[in-house]
């Protein structure tokens, strides 16, 4: 059995760890609430943007923008969004394994990452990372996404790149966290029943309008993916911290039982020592 001071030291250490995990859990709960609300509000914008975009594409007719062209053969770019920090349970593990399977399926993959976890994972697997983007936080605005769009449009303009996809963790309050892949480029119109009901007029020209609309559409898509991924990260961290707090509670209970047992043992030993000593003294007097 461990000594009393050793057990006391362990109780203090576990208690301190519990305090940290509890604080992290509370922070994650607050962040999840804030971000899931932001996600819900964003979905209105995202849904409208998608319907407007598919409407524009369906009515554009024969005219084709370079971002709408299917190039046939070429390289595939994968933009993998992971977390920067650990302590998120199986969040990165599930996402990165899903991303790896998608990357391995492609012929000539190019990998771009967001978050240090994804970068170190692909480096360990021997896959080079072309670009690593800066951290995206819950304070980031949609303007912060413009640099991503600029980079991917430049990459797609190269003849060798066939498509650009985003791999991220989607979040829904019903299904929880699950990895997902979305094709960013080339942009494809969704099938709609009401085709060519009326001609659409572009002010000033179709080229200029689509040159402005497409980057905005892409920044909206990427912003949505980053927002969902961030919400998933905090949701996973909250779950991980919740189980860590429960484990710490269990460990503390076990340790306090062990401590009480050891203390009782020490007291019993002391009493028996005293009784033995008293008996010895009384024997001497007799």
């Amino acid at each position: 059995m461990n000594s009393l001071s050793e057990i006391k030291h362990r109780i203090k250490a576990v208690g301190d760890t519990r305090k940290i995990t509890k604080a992290m859990e509370m922070v994650s709960i607050a962040k999840v609430n804030k971000l899931s609300q932001k996600c819900e509000q964003y979905m209105a914008y995202f849904g409208k943007m998608q319907s407007v975009m598919s409407d524009i594409l369906l009515r554009t007719g024969e005219w084709v923008h370079p971002c709408l062209k299917d190039k046939g053969k070429g390289q595939s770019v994968f933009f993998v969004i992971s977390s920067d920090n650990g302590l998120v349970g199986g969040f990165n593990h599930n996402l990165l394994n899903f991303a790896l399977s998608k990357v391995m399926e492609a012929d000539n993959p190019i990998v771009c990452t967001q978050g240090s976890e994804a970068e170190s994972f692909f480096k360990k697997k021997g896959i080079s990372v072309l670009k690593r983007f800066e951290t995206f936080s819950d304070f980031s605005e949609i303007y912060n996404v413009d640099k991503y769009v600029e980079y991917f449009l430049e990459l797609f303009a190269e003849k060798t790149v066939r498509q650009v996809s985003v791999i991220f963790s989607s979040f829904s309050s019903k299904t929880g966290v699950c990895p997902k892949i979305i094709k960013l480029l080339p942009i494809k119109a969704e099938q709609s029943k009401e085709r060519y009901l009326y001609e659409i007029y572009y002010e000033p020209t179709p080229e200029e309008v689509l040159d402005g609309v497409i980057p905005q559409y892409l920044s909206g898509m990427i912003y949505g993916c980053l927002l969902q991924s961030l919400t998933s990260e905090f949701f996973s961290r909250r779950m991980a911290m919740d189980s860590a707090v429960k484990n710490a509670d269990k460990l503390l209970q076990e340790l306090s039982t062990e401590y009480n047992r050891a203390r009782q043992n020490a007291v019993t030993n002391e009493i028996s020592d005293i009784v033995t000593a008293v008996n010895g003294v009384s024997d001497e007097r007799l």
């Binding site: 209105a44 407007v52 524009i56 605005e141 640099k147 002010e203 912003y223």
Partner: protein
Amino acid sequence: MRNSFMLEIITPEKIFFSGDVEEMIINASSGEVEIMHHTLPMVTNIAPGLISIVQNGRKMEAVCSDGFMRVGDSVTSVLVKGCKWPYEISEKDAGSEIKILNERIKNVQSVGEYKTLKAKLAMAIAQLKVLHRKD
């Protein structure tokens, strides 16, 4: 209202405005555009600036950032990155943002960053404009 149309102004943060309006004047990339009932269906880019809306004969003004607009048969949708009513604007904040953006524009490293900063600057200037117009 017979001569009205449905207008939606949506930003990533919220549905900024949704309702039947008689008229809307917005700053498109090629100049100011006035949208009324039965305007030809069209798509255009929006430059940062003022939006004025007439609802039930009452004129309202707001400041919007860059985005795009689709005028449909029944609904006109304006999708912008940000939009503010005059009472949401602080002159002090807008002024300090202009100063910061002017400094950042001097050290830009890419065309995309320059465009983003220019759009933010135009939005901040439009905010000051609408405040002074109100006075």
